[in-house]
Amino acid sequence: MRLLASILVALLLSSPAVGQYGQITFSAQHRSALVIDSPEPPTLLGSFVLVDGAATIRQQPVAVIELTTDCRFWDVTARRSLTESGELQEITRETGRQTLLLSGEPGEYLVEAIGFDPEKGIARFSMVVTLGTPKPPEPPQPVIPDNLPKDFDELAKRVATWAVGVPKRLELAAVYRSYAARITDDPTLTVATAGGLLQNDIRAITQTIPEADRQRVRDLFAQINQDLTARWPLDKASLNSYWSCVAAGLEVGK
Protein backbone atom coordinates (compact mmCIF):
# COMPACT_ATOMS: atom_id res chain seq x y z
CA MET A 1 0.00 0.00 0.00
CA ARG A 2 2.80 2.35 0.95
CA LEU A 3 4.59 1.56 -2.33
CA LEU A 4 1.39 2.11 -4.28
CA ALA A 5 0.80 5.42 -2.59
CA SER A 6 4.37 6.56 -3.23
CA ILE A 7 4.11 5.66 -6.87
CA LEU A 8 0.79 7.42 -7.20
CA VAL A 9 2.06 10.51 -5.51
CA ALA A 10 5.16 10.49 -7.66
CA LEU A 11 3.10 10.08 -10.77
CA LEU A 12 0.65 12.76 -9.83
CA LEU A 13 3.41 15.18 -8.96
CA SER A 14 5.54 14.35 -11.94
CA SER A 15 3.06 14.04 -14.77
CA PRO A 16 -0.39 15.05 -13.71
CA ALA A 17 -1.59 15.82 -17.22
CA VAL A 18 0.23 13.36 -19.37
CA GLY A 19 -3.03 12.03 -20.75
CA GLN A 20 -2.37 8.35 -20.30
CA TYR A 21 -5.03 6.42 -18.38
CA GLY A 22 -5.81 2.87 -17.56
CA GLN A 23 -9.25 1.36 -17.24
CA ILE A 24 -10.91 0.39 -13.98
CA THR A 25 -14.57 -0.20 -13.29
CA PHE A 26 -16.79 -2.28 -11.08
CA SER A 27 -20.40 -3.26 -10.57
CA ALA A 28 -22.28 -3.77 -7.33
CA GLN A 29 -24.85 -6.46 -6.77
CA HIS A 30 -27.13 -6.22 -3.74
CA ARG A 31 -27.39 -9.43 -1.78
CA SER A 32 -28.50 -10.57 1.63
CA ALA A 33 -26.03 -12.38 3.86
CA LEU A 34 -26.59 -14.69 6.80
CA VAL A 35 -24.17 -13.69 9.51
CA ILE A 36 -23.27 -16.04 12.34
CA ASP A 37 -22.51 -14.23 15.58
CA SER A 38 -20.52 -16.70 17.63
CA PRO A 39 -17.73 -16.55 20.21
CA GLU A 40 -15.97 -19.27 18.27
CA PRO A 41 -15.51 -19.25 14.51
CA PRO A 42 -18.00 -21.58 12.80
CA THR A 43 -16.73 -24.71 11.14
CA LEU A 44 -18.00 -25.82 7.77
CA LEU A 45 -18.52 -29.57 7.71
CA GLY A 46 -19.97 -30.67 4.39
CA SER A 47 -23.35 -29.03 4.20
CA PHE A 48 -23.34 -28.35 7.96
CA VAL A 49 -22.08 -25.31 9.76
CA LEU A 50 -20.95 -26.14 13.25
CA VAL A 51 -21.26 -23.28 15.70
CA ASP A 52 -20.92 -22.56 19.38
CA GLY A 53 -24.03 -23.08 21.47
CA ALA A 54 -24.45 -19.35 22.02
CA ALA A 55 -24.29 -18.55 18.33
CA THR A 56 -27.04 -16.58 16.67
CA ILE A 57 -27.79 -15.96 13.06
CA ARG A 58 -28.91 -12.72 11.59
CA GLN A 59 -29.52 -11.45 8.12
CA GLN A 60 -27.91 -8.32 6.82
CA PRO A 61 -27.70 -6.57 3.49
CA VAL A 62 -24.37 -6.69 1.66
CA ALA A 63 -23.11 -5.83 -1.79
CA VAL A 64 -20.88 -7.95 -4.03
CA ILE A 65 -18.42 -5.75 -5.87
CA GLU A 66 -17.11 -7.15 -9.17
CA LEU A 67 -14.10 -5.15 -10.33
CA THR A 68 -12.30 -5.33 -13.64
CA THR A 69 -9.22 -3.35 -14.66
CA ASP A 70 -6.31 -3.37 -17.05
CA CYS A 71 -4.06 -1.84 -14.43
CA ARG A 72 -1.40 -3.77 -12.69
CA PHE A 73 -2.03 -2.25 -9.31
CA TRP A 74 -5.33 -1.17 -7.78
CA ASP A 75 -7.01 -0.51 -4.51
CA VAL A 76 -10.65 -0.22 -3.45
CA THR A 77 -12.08 1.66 -0.47
CA ALA A 78 -15.60 2.23 0.87
CA ARG A 79 -16.70 4.88 3.33
CA ARG A 80 -19.92 6.36 4.70
CA SER A 81 -18.32 9.56 5.83
CA LEU A 82 -14.92 10.97 6.50
CA THR A 83 -14.66 8.91 9.66
CA GLU A 84 -16.84 5.86 8.98
CA SER A 85 -15.65 3.14 6.69
CA GLY A 86 -17.46 0.18 5.24
CA GLU A 87 -15.96 -3.26 5.52
CA LEU A 88 -14.59 -4.68 2.28
CA GLN A 89 -13.60 -8.33 2.23
CA GLU A 90 -11.81 -9.82 -0.73
CA ILE A 91 -13.43 -12.96 -2.03
CA THR A 92 -11.31 -13.60 -5.12
CA ARG A 93 -8.52 -11.79 -6.90
CA GLU A 94 -6.74 -12.55 -10.12
CA THR A 95 -5.14 -10.51 -12.86
CA GLY A 96 -7.48 -7.71 -13.85
CA ARG A 97 -10.35 -8.98 -11.67
CA GLN A 98 -11.35 -8.80 -8.07
CA THR A 99 -14.53 -9.73 -6.19
CA LEU A 100 -15.18 -7.99 -2.89
CA LEU A 101 -17.95 -8.11 -0.32
CA LEU A 102 -19.12 -4.79 1.13
CA SER A 103 -20.84 -4.96 4.54
CA GLY A 104 -21.66 -2.52 7.31
CA GLU A 105 -24.46 -0.47 8.83
CA PRO A 106 -27.33 0.27 6.50
CA GLY A 107 -26.64 3.41 4.55
CA GLU A 108 -24.96 4.87 1.53
CA TYR A 109 -21.30 4.07 0.89
CA LEU A 110 -18.98 5.76 -1.54
CA VAL A 111 -16.95 2.95 -3.09
CA GLU A 112 -13.83 4.19 -4.83
CA ALA A 113 -11.34 2.24 -6.90
CA ILE A 114 -8.02 3.59 -8.05
CA GLY A 115 -5.64 1.78 -10.36
CA PHE A 116 -2.12 2.36 -11.59
CA ASP A 117 -0.15 0.81 -14.30
CA PRO A 118 3.38 1.93 -15.19
CA GLU A 119 2.50 1.89 -18.86
CA LYS A 120 -1.11 2.99 -18.86
CA GLY A 121 -1.06 5.45 -16.04
CA ILE A 122 -3.78 5.84 -13.43
CA ALA A 123 -7.44 4.98 -13.46
CA ARG A 124 -10.28 5.91 -11.12
CA PHE A 125 -13.84 4.79 -10.68
CA SER A 126 -16.36 5.45 -7.93
CA MET A 127 -19.99 4.56 -7.21
CA VAL A 128 -22.47 5.09 -4.41
CA VAL A 129 -23.62 1.71 -3.11
CA THR A 130 -26.56 1.55 -0.75
CA LEU A 131 -26.78 -1.17 1.85
CA GLY A 132 -30.31 -1.81 3.16
CA THR A 133 -32.65 1.05 3.91
CA PRO A 134 -30.62 3.94 5.20
CA LYS A 135 -31.85 5.54 8.43
CA PRO A 136 -33.05 9.07 7.91
CA PRO A 137 -30.59 11.55 9.28
CA GLU A 138 -31.20 12.49 12.91
CA PRO A 139 -32.82 15.87 13.11
CA PRO A 140 -30.82 18.46 14.96
CA GLN A 141 -31.46 18.71 18.70
CA PRO A 142 -33.60 21.70 19.56
CA VAL A 143 -32.31 24.64 21.51
CA ILE A 144 -34.06 24.33 24.88
CA PRO A 145 -35.02 27.71 26.30
CA ASP A 146 -34.31 28.40 29.95
CA ASN A 147 -37.82 29.51 30.79
CA LEU A 148 -39.56 26.16 30.43
CA PRO A 149 -41.49 25.00 33.51
CA LYS A 150 -39.44 22.72 35.74
CA ASP A 151 -42.33 20.66 37.10
CA PHE A 152 -42.46 16.89 36.91
CA ASP A 153 -38.68 16.50 36.72
CA GLU A 154 -38.39 19.00 33.88
CA LEU A 155 -41.05 17.26 31.85
CA ALA A 156 -41.28 20.13 29.35
CA LYS A 157 -37.57 19.86 28.58
CA ARG A 158 -37.80 16.12 28.20
CA VAL A 159 -40.83 16.38 25.92
CA ALA A 160 -38.91 18.88 23.77
CA THR A 161 -36.17 16.28 23.36
CA TRP A 162 -38.58 13.42 22.73
CA ALA A 163 -40.46 15.47 20.15
CA VAL A 164 -37.48 16.12 17.91
CA GLY A 165 -38.54 15.43 14.33
CA VAL A 166 -42.24 15.03 15.23
CA PRO A 167 -44.34 16.97 12.74
CA LYS A 168 -47.31 19.14 13.72
CA ARG A 169 -45.96 19.75 17.20
CA LEU A 170 -47.71 23.09 17.52
CA GLU A 171 -51.06 21.52 16.70
CA LEU A 172 -50.46 18.78 19.26
CA ALA A 173 -49.41 21.39 21.80
CA ALA A 174 -52.63 23.31 21.21
CA VAL A 175 -54.65 20.20 22.03
CA TYR A 176 -52.75 19.71 25.28
CA ARG A 177 -53.17 23.39 26.20
CA SER A 178 -56.87 23.18 25.52
CA TYR A 179 -57.43 20.16 27.75
CA ALA A 180 -55.13 21.49 30.45
CA ALA A 181 -57.56 24.40 30.77
CA ARG A 182 -60.73 22.37 30.37
CA ILE A 183 -59.87 19.73 32.94
CA THR A 184 -59.92 22.35 35.70
CA ASP A 185 -62.53 24.72 34.33
CA ASP A 186 -65.20 22.44 32.92
CA PRO A 187 -67.13 20.70 35.71
CA THR A 188 -68.70 18.26 33.27
CA LEU A 189 -65.37 16.59 32.54
CA THR A 190 -63.89 13.79 34.55
CA VAL A 191 -60.31 12.70 34.02
CA ALA A 192 -61.48 9.73 31.96
CA THR A 193 -63.80 11.74 29.71
CA ALA A 194 -61.16 14.44 29.21
CA GLY A 195 -58.59 11.75 28.44
CA GLY A 196 -60.87 10.19 25.84
CA LEU A 197 -61.54 13.52 24.14
CA LEU A 198 -57.84 14.44 24.18
CA GLN A 199 -56.99 11.09 22.60
CA ASN A 200 -59.56 11.66 19.82
CA ASP A 201 -58.28 15.16 19.07
CA ILE A 202 -54.66 14.00 19.00
CA ARG A 203 -55.44 11.09 16.71
CA ALA A 204 -57.23 13.43 14.34
CA ILE A 205 -53.88 15.20 13.96
CA THR A 206 -51.52 12.23 13.95
CA GLN A 207 -53.55 10.42 11.31
CA THR A 208 -52.64 13.18 8.87
CA ILE A 209 -48.94 12.62 9.51
CA PRO A 210 -47.16 10.52 6.84
CA GLU A 211 -46.46 6.95 7.88
CA ALA A 212 -42.72 7.55 7.56
CA ASP A 213 -42.94 9.98 10.53
CA ARG A 214 -45.45 8.06 12.61
CA GLN A 215 -42.86 6.05 14.51
CA ARG A 216 -41.44 9.25 15.96
CA VAL A 217 -44.97 10.19 17.04
CA ARG A 218 -45.53 6.79 18.62
CA ASP A 219 -42.18 7.00 20.40
CA LEU A 220 -43.10 10.44 21.75
CA PHE A 221 -46.40 9.24 23.19
CA ALA A 222 -44.81 6.08 24.54
CA GLN A 223 -42.40 8.27 26.53
CA ILE A 224 -45.16 10.56 27.79
CA ASN A 225 -47.40 7.62 28.67
CA GLN A 226 -44.63 5.94 30.61
CA ASP A 227 -43.88 9.08 32.58
CA LEU A 228 -47.54 9.81 33.32
CA THR A 229 -48.37 6.26 34.33
CA ALA A 230 -45.47 6.22 36.77
CA ARG A 231 -46.89 9.32 38.48
CA TRP A 232 -50.51 8.21 38.54
CA PRO A 233 -52.87 9.21 40.10
CA LEU A 234 -52.81 12.94 39.47
CA ASP A 235 -55.79 15.06 40.43
CA LYS A 236 -57.24 17.54 37.97
CA ALA A 237 -55.12 20.46 39.18
CA SER A 238 -51.96 18.39 38.77
CA LEU A 239 -53.10 17.12 35.40
CA ASN A 240 -53.58 20.72 34.32
CA SER A 241 -49.91 21.37 35.18
CA TYR A 242 -48.79 18.14 33.57
CA TRP A 243 -50.52 18.74 30.26
CA SER A 244 -49.30 22.36 30.28
CA CYS A 245 -45.73 21.06 30.58
CA VAL A 246 -46.28 18.67 27.69
CA ALA A 247 -47.59 21.57 25.61
CA ALA A 248 -44.62 23.75 26.54
CA GLY A 249 -42.23 21.00 25.49
CA LEU A 250 -43.98 20.50 22.18
CA GLU A 251 -43.82 24.21 21.46
CA VAL A 252 -40.01 24.29 21.69
CA GLY A 253 -38.26 24.92 18.39
CA LYS A 254 -41.37 26.11 16.57
Partner: protein, 344 residues
Protein backbone atom coordinates in the same frame (compact mmCIF):
# COMPACT_ATOMS: atom_id res chain seq x y z
CA UNK B 1 -100.15 19.74 51.86
CA UNK B 2 -99.28 20.95 55.33
CA UNK B 3 -97.17 23.59 57.02
CA UNK B 4 -97.30 25.79 53.93
CA UNK B 5 -95.27 23.28 51.98
CA UNK B 6 -95.74 22.88 48.26
CA UNK B 7 -95.59 19.10 48.27
CA UNK B 8 -97.40 16.09 49.61
CA UNK B 9 -96.24 14.33 52.74
CA UNK B 10 -94.65 11.12 51.52
CA UNK B 11 -93.87 7.78 53.13
CA UNK B 12 -91.73 7.87 56.26
CA UNK B 13 -89.33 5.24 57.45
CA UNK B 14 -87.13 6.17 60.39
CA UNK B 15 -87.39 3.03 62.49
CA UNK B 16 -90.09 0.42 62.04
CA UNK B 17 -92.84 2.15 63.93
CA UNK B 18 -92.51 0.05 67.09
CA UNK B 19 -90.44 2.45 69.21
CA UNK B 20 -91.05 5.86 70.70
CA UNK B 21 -88.94 8.83 69.63
CA UNK B 22 -86.82 8.58 72.77
CA UNK B 23 -86.32 4.87 72.22
CA UNK B 24 -85.31 5.44 68.61
CA UNK B 25 -82.81 8.13 69.61
CA UNK B 26 -81.42 5.74 72.21
CA UNK B 27 -81.26 2.98 69.60
CA UNK B 28 -79.27 5.25 67.28
CA UNK B 29 -76.96 6.34 70.08
CA UNK B 30 -76.25 2.83 71.30
CA UNK B 31 -75.76 1.54 67.75
CA UNK B 32 -73.34 4.40 67.06
CA UNK B 33 -71.35 3.75 70.23
CA UNK B 34 -71.10 0.05 69.46
CA UNK B 35 -70.12 0.57 65.83
CA UNK B 36 -67.64 3.34 66.62
CA UNK B 37 -65.99 1.19 69.26
CA UNK B 38 -65.75 -1.65 66.77
CA UNK B 39 -64.11 0.51 64.09
CA UNK B 40 -63.04 3.87 65.56
CA UNK B 41 -61.15 5.02 62.49
CA UNK B 42 -64.34 4.99 60.42
CA UNK B 43 -66.05 7.42 62.78
CA UNK B 44 -63.21 9.90 63.02
CA UNK B 45 -63.41 13.10 61.04
CA UNK B 46 -61.04 13.29 58.15
CA UNK B 47 -60.32 16.94 57.61
CA UNK B 48 -60.23 17.38 53.88
CA UNK B 49 -59.51 20.37 51.79
CA UNK B 50 -62.38 22.53 50.74
CA UNK B 51 -60.18 24.04 48.07
CA UNK B 52 -62.28 24.12 44.94
CA UNK B 53 -60.64 24.28 41.53
CA UNK B 54 -60.52 28.01 40.69
CA UNK B 55 -62.36 27.67 37.39
CA UNK B 56 -65.13 25.64 39.00
CA UNK B 57 -65.32 27.98 41.99
CA UNK B 58 -65.86 30.91 39.66
CA UNK B 59 -68.76 29.21 37.87
CA UNK B 60 -70.22 27.90 41.10
CA UNK B 61 -70.06 31.29 42.84
CA UNK B 62 -71.59 33.06 39.86
CA UNK B 63 -74.45 30.56 39.77
CA UNK B 64 -75.07 30.90 43.51
CA UNK B 65 -74.97 34.69 43.34
CA UNK B 66 -77.64 34.61 40.64
CA UNK B 67 -79.84 32.87 43.23
CA UNK B 68 -79.18 35.50 45.86
CA UNK B 69 -76.57 33.50 47.75
CA UNK B 70 -73.21 34.94 48.76
CA UNK B 71 -70.28 33.81 46.63
CA UNK B 72 -68.62 31.87 49.46
CA UNK B 73 -71.70 29.70 49.99
CA UNK B 74 -71.56 25.98 49.29
CA UNK B 75 -74.88 24.99 47.82
CA UNK B 76 -74.43 21.49 46.47
CA UNK B 77 -77.69 21.69 44.55
CA UNK B 78 -76.12 24.50 42.53
CA UNK B 79 -72.91 22.53 42.09
CA UNK B 80 -75.01 19.65 40.76
CA UNK B 81 -76.68 22.03 38.32
CA UNK B 82 -73.46 23.51 36.92
CA UNK B 83 -71.89 20.08 36.67
CA UNK B 84 -74.72 18.25 34.96
CA UNK B 85 -76.64 21.12 33.47
CA UNK B 86 -79.65 20.45 35.68
CA UNK B 87 -80.74 19.28 39.07
CA UNK B 88 -81.24 15.54 38.96
CA UNK B 89 -84.93 14.71 38.80
CA UNK B 90 -85.12 11.54 40.88
CA UNK B 91 -88.41 9.71 41.38
CA UNK B 92 -90.14 10.02 44.76
CA UNK B 93 -90.00 7.10 47.17
CA UNK B 94 -93.04 4.84 47.32
CA UNK B 95 -92.27 2.73 50.41
CA UNK B 96 -90.77 3.63 53.78
CA UNK B 97 -87.25 3.63 52.34
CA UNK B 98 -86.40 7.25 53.14
CA UNK B 99 -83.13 6.37 54.87
CA UNK B 100 -81.91 5.09 51.51
CA UNK B 101 -84.04 7.22 49.20
CA UNK B 102 -82.88 10.56 50.57
CA UNK B 103 -79.36 9.45 51.45
CA UNK B 104 -78.41 8.34 47.94
CA UNK B 105 -79.25 11.82 46.68
CA UNK B 106 -76.65 13.43 48.93
CA UNK B 107 -74.27 10.50 48.32
CA UNK B 108 -74.32 11.53 44.64
CA UNK B 109 -73.76 15.15 45.62
CA UNK B 110 -70.74 14.19 47.69
CA UNK B 111 -69.33 12.35 44.67
CA UNK B 112 -69.86 15.48 42.56
CA UNK B 113 -68.03 17.56 45.19
CA UNK B 114 -65.06 15.19 45.11
CA UNK B 115 -64.82 14.91 41.33
CA UNK B 116 -66.10 18.19 39.89
CA UNK B 117 -65.28 20.70 42.62
CA UNK B 118 -62.17 19.29 44.23
CA UNK B 119 -60.93 17.64 41.04
CA UNK B 120 -60.09 14.18 42.28
CA UNK B 121 -58.96 11.61 39.73
CA UNK B 122 -62.12 9.59 40.18
CA UNK B 123 -65.10 8.67 38.07
CA UNK B 124 -68.84 8.68 38.62
CA UNK B 125 -70.81 5.45 38.67
CA UNK B 126 -72.79 6.75 35.68
CA UNK B 127 -73.95 9.83 33.86
CA UNK B 128 -77.69 10.13 34.38
CA UNK B 129 -80.49 9.47 36.88
CA UNK B 130 -81.90 6.19 35.66
CA UNK B 131 -81.02 2.86 34.12
CA UNK B 132 -77.75 1.00 34.02
CA UNK B 133 -75.86 4.27 33.60
CA UNK B 134 -77.31 5.72 36.79
CA UNK B 135 -74.94 7.92 38.74
CA UNK B 136 -76.50 6.54 41.92
CA UNK B 137 -75.89 3.10 43.40
CA UNK B 138 -78.68 0.51 43.41
CA UNK B 139 -80.86 1.55 46.34
CA UNK B 140 -82.53 -1.70 47.42
CA UNK B 141 -79.19 -3.45 47.90
CA UNK B 142 -77.99 -0.78 50.32
CA UNK B 143 -81.38 -0.70 52.02
CA UNK B 144 -81.32 -4.47 52.49
CA UNK B 145 -77.72 -4.68 53.68
CA UNK B 146 -78.25 -1.89 56.20
CA UNK B 147 -81.49 -3.46 57.44
CA UNK B 148 -79.70 -6.76 57.89
CA UNK B 149 -77.10 -4.99 60.04
CA UNK B 150 -80.00 -3.61 62.09
CA UNK B 151 -81.67 -7.03 62.13
CA UNK B 152 -84.80 -5.47 60.61
CA UNK B 153 -87.22 -7.55 58.56
CA UNK B 154 -90.89 -7.22 57.83
CA UNK B 155 -92.29 -3.70 57.92
CA UNK B 156 -90.57 -0.82 56.14
CA UNK B 157 -88.00 1.44 57.73
CA UNK B 158 -84.40 1.78 58.84
CA UNK B 159 -82.20 3.71 61.24
CA UNK B 160 -79.40 6.08 60.29
CA UNK B 161 -76.57 4.40 62.19
CA UNK B 162 -76.88 1.00 60.48
CA UNK B 163 -77.05 2.91 57.21
CA UNK B 164 -73.75 4.67 57.96
CA UNK B 165 -72.17 1.40 59.00
CA UNK B 166 -73.35 -0.36 55.86
CA UNK B 167 -72.08 2.41 53.58
CA UNK B 168 -68.68 2.09 55.25
CA UNK B 169 -68.44 -1.67 55.61
CA UNK B 170 -70.55 -3.05 52.76
CA UNK B 171 -70.07 -0.43 50.07
CA UNK B 172 -72.70 0.06 47.38
CA UNK B 173 -73.78 -1.76 44.25
CA UNK B 174 -73.22 -0.16 40.87
CA UNK B 175 -76.39 -0.19 38.73
CA UNK B 176 -74.38 -1.54 35.81
CA UNK B 177 -73.39 -4.70 37.68
CA UNK B 178 -74.14 -7.53 35.20
CA UNK B 179 -75.31 -9.94 37.90
CA UNK B 180 -77.78 -7.33 39.19
CA UNK B 181 -79.11 -6.74 35.69
CA UNK B 182 -79.48 -10.47 35.13
CA UNK B 183 -81.43 -10.79 38.37
CA UNK B 184 -83.65 -7.84 37.53
CA UNK B 185 -84.38 -9.34 34.11
CA UNK B 186 -85.65 -12.51 35.72
CA UNK B 187 -87.75 -10.39 38.09
CA UNK B 188 -89.03 -8.24 35.19
CA UNK B 189 -87.69 -5.18 36.95
CA UNK B 190 -85.03 -4.13 34.50
CA UNK B 191 -86.73 -1.24 32.71
CA UNK B 192 -84.79 2.00 32.84
CA UNK B 193 -86.84 3.65 35.59
CA UNK B 194 -86.35 0.60 37.88
CA UNK B 195 -82.82 1.76 38.59
CA UNK B 196 -81.53 3.07 40.93
CA UNK B 197 -84.80 2.43 42.80
CA UNK B 198 -87.65 0.18 41.63
CA UNK B 199 -90.28 2.87 42.07
CA UNK B 200 -93.66 1.42 41.23
CA UNK B 201 -92.60 -2.05 42.25
CA UNK B 202 -92.69 -1.88 46.06
CA UNK B 203 -92.65 -5.66 46.41
CA UNK B 204 -89.17 -5.79 44.93
CA UNK B 205 -87.84 -2.99 47.15
CA UNK B 206 -89.31 -4.78 50.16
CA UNK B 207 -87.85 -8.11 49.07
CA UNK B 208 -84.37 -6.61 49.16
CA UNK B 209 -85.32 -4.97 52.47
CA UNK B 210 -86.16 -8.41 53.80
CA UNK B 211 -82.65 -9.58 52.86
CA UNK B 212 -83.60 -11.43 49.67
CA UNK B 213 -80.98 -11.27 46.90
CA UNK B 214 -78.54 -9.14 48.89
CA UNK B 215 -76.10 -11.93 49.67
CA UNK B 216 -75.76 -13.06 46.07
CA UNK B 217 -74.92 -9.46 45.11
CA UNK B 218 -72.82 -8.50 48.12
CA UNK B 219 -69.59 -9.66 46.49
CA UNK B 220 -70.04 -7.04 43.74
CA UNK B 221 -70.41 -4.12 46.13
CA UNK B 222 -67.66 -1.51 46.20
CA UNK B 223 -67.07 2.22 46.64
CA UNK B 224 -67.24 2.34 50.40
CA UNK B 225 -67.73 5.47 52.42
CA UNK B 226 -64.40 5.82 54.18
CA UNK B 227 -65.67 7.68 57.23
CA UNK B 228 -68.85 9.05 58.75
CA UNK B 229 -68.94 11.37 61.71
CA UNK B 230 -71.83 12.04 64.04
CA UNK B 231 -72.69 15.73 64.09
CA UNK B 232 -73.90 17.12 67.38
CA UNK B 233 -73.78 20.89 66.93
CA UNK B 234 -74.38 23.52 64.33
CA UNK B 235 -70.68 24.44 64.41
CA UNK B 236 -69.68 20.88 63.57
CA UNK B 237 -72.35 20.87 60.90
CA UNK B 238 -71.01 24.04 59.31
CA UNK B 239 -67.42 22.82 59.43
CA UNK B 240 -68.36 19.58 57.68
CA UNK B 241 -70.45 21.47 55.15
CA UNK B 242 -67.55 23.80 54.38
CA UNK B 243 -65.56 20.70 53.47
CA UNK B 244 -68.36 19.77 51.05
CA UNK B 245 -69.33 16.84 53.21
CA UNK B 246 -73.00 16.08 52.82
CA UNK B 247 -74.95 14.37 55.59
CA UNK B 248 -78.14 12.48 56.35
CA UNK B 249 -80.39 12.92 59.34
CA UNK B 250 -82.93 10.74 61.10
CA UNK B 251 -85.41 12.43 63.40
CA UNK B 252 -89.03 13.11 64.20
CA UNK B 253 -88.62 16.68 62.95
CA UNK B 254 -91.36 17.86 60.63
CA UNK B 255 -90.89 20.97 58.52
CA UNK B 256 -93.05 23.95 57.78
CA UNK B 257 -92.57 27.08 55.78
CA UNK B 258 -92.11 30.08 58.06
CA UNK B 259 -91.81 32.80 55.47
CA UNK B 260 -90.26 34.07 52.29
CA UNK B 261 -86.88 35.74 52.26
CA UNK B 262 -86.67 39.18 50.65
CA UNK B 263 -84.50 37.53 47.96
CA UNK B 264 -87.37 35.26 47.05
CA UNK B 265 -86.48 31.90 48.59
CA UNK B 266 -88.59 30.17 51.24
CA UNK B 267 -87.48 29.92 54.84
CA UNK B 268 -88.32 26.81 56.85
CA UNK B 269 -88.29 25.62 60.42
CA UNK B 270 -89.46 22.74 62.55
CA UNK B 271 -93.21 22.18 62.56
CA UNK B 272 -93.83 21.31 66.16
CA UNK B 273 -97.40 20.43 65.35
CA UNK B 274 -96.36 17.42 63.29
CA UNK B 275 -93.88 14.59 63.55
CA UNK B 276 -92.18 12.89 60.67
CA UNK B 277 -90.33 9.68 61.48
CA UNK B 278 -88.10 10.41 58.57
CA UNK B 279 -84.65 10.67 57.07
CA UNK B 280 -83.55 13.70 55.07
CA UNK B 281 -80.25 14.78 53.54
CA UNK B 282 -78.10 17.88 53.96
CA UNK B 283 -77.01 19.53 50.71
CA UNK B 284 -74.68 22.27 51.89
CA UNK B 285 -75.22 25.76 53.18
CA UNK B 286 -75.46 29.33 51.96
CA UNK B 287 -75.29 32.90 53.18
CA UNK B 288 -77.82 35.45 52.06
CA UNK B 289 -76.66 38.88 50.96
CA UNK B 290 -76.80 40.08 54.55
CA UNK B 291 -74.58 37.24 55.72
CA UNK B 292 -77.30 35.16 57.38
CA UNK B 293 -76.48 31.47 57.31
CA UNK B 294 -78.90 28.81 56.05
CA UNK B 295 -78.51 25.06 55.76
CA UNK B 296 -80.14 23.18 52.88
CA UNK B 297 -82.26 20.23 53.96
CA UNK B 298 -82.88 17.84 51.08
CA UNK B 299 -86.15 15.91 51.30
CA UNK B 300 -86.62 15.39 47.57
CA UNK B 301 -87.63 11.77 48.06
CA UNK B 302 -91.00 13.46 48.56
CA UNK B 303 -90.73 15.40 45.33
CA UNK B 304 -88.47 18.04 43.77
CA UNK B 305 -90.03 20.90 45.75
CA UNK B 306 -89.16 19.32 49.10
CA UNK B 307 -86.00 21.35 49.63
CA UNK B 308 -85.87 23.42 52.80
CA UNK B 309 -83.77 26.40 53.84
CA UNK B 310 -83.13 26.11 57.57
CA UNK B 311 -81.68 29.17 59.37
CA UNK B 312 -78.58 28.41 61.44
CA UNK B 313 -80.31 29.48 64.66
CA UNK B 314 -83.11 27.01 63.98
CA UNK B 315 -80.68 24.15 63.34
CA UNK B 316 -78.82 25.12 66.49
CA UNK B 317 -82.01 24.59 68.47
CA UNK B 318 -82.44 21.11 67.00
CA UNK B 319 -78.96 20.03 67.98
CA UNK B 320 -79.23 21.54 71.45
CA UNK B 321 -82.47 19.61 71.97
CA UNK B 322 -80.72 16.43 70.70
CA UNK B 323 -83.48 15.84 68.20
CA UNK B 324 -81.58 14.59 65.15
CA UNK B 325 -79.13 11.78 64.47
CA UNK B 326 -76.95 13.28 61.77
CA UNK B 327 -74.10 11.42 60.06
CA UNK B 328 -71.71 12.93 57.54
CA UNK B 329 -70.75 11.47 54.21
CA UNK B 330 -67.03 12.05 54.26
CA UNK B 331 -64.74 10.57 51.61
CA UNK B 332 -66.31 8.07 49.20
CA UNK B 333 -63.97 5.65 47.49
CA UNK B 334 -65.19 6.33 43.98
CA UNK B 335 -63.75 4.43 40.98
CA UNK B 336 -60.23 5.60 40.20
CA UNK B 337 -59.65 7.33 36.89
CA UNK B 338 -57.26 5.52 34.58
CA UNK B 339 -54.22 7.52 33.45
CA UNK B 340 -55.12 9.36 30.23
CA UNK B 341 -52.53 7.76 27.99
CA UNK B 342 -52.46 8.47 24.27
CA UNK B 343 -52.25 5.58 21.83
CA UNK B 344 -51.48 6.59 18.26
Amino acid sequence: MSGGLEHQIGPQGWGDGTLTEAEMIRYETEYFERAAADMPVAYRSRPTTNRVLPGIQRRWSEAMERKGMRADSMCLNTLEEITWGRKFNWLPQDIGSCVQSNTFRVWVQRAIAQIAARGDAEEYLGTSEFGISSIAPYGPQTYGMARKRANMRGSDGLYCEPMAESLMKDGVLDCSTPQLLELLRTLEADSAKMLPEPIGKPSLYRAFGNWEYIEQLRQFCDHRLLASVKITSVDEHLEASKQMKTAFMCSMIAIRKTGTHKDGFDIHARNTGERWAHNMGWSGHFYDRSGNLFFILNNTSWGPKAMYNIPAEELDRWYKAKLPTTMTLEEIDMPDSPPPVVID
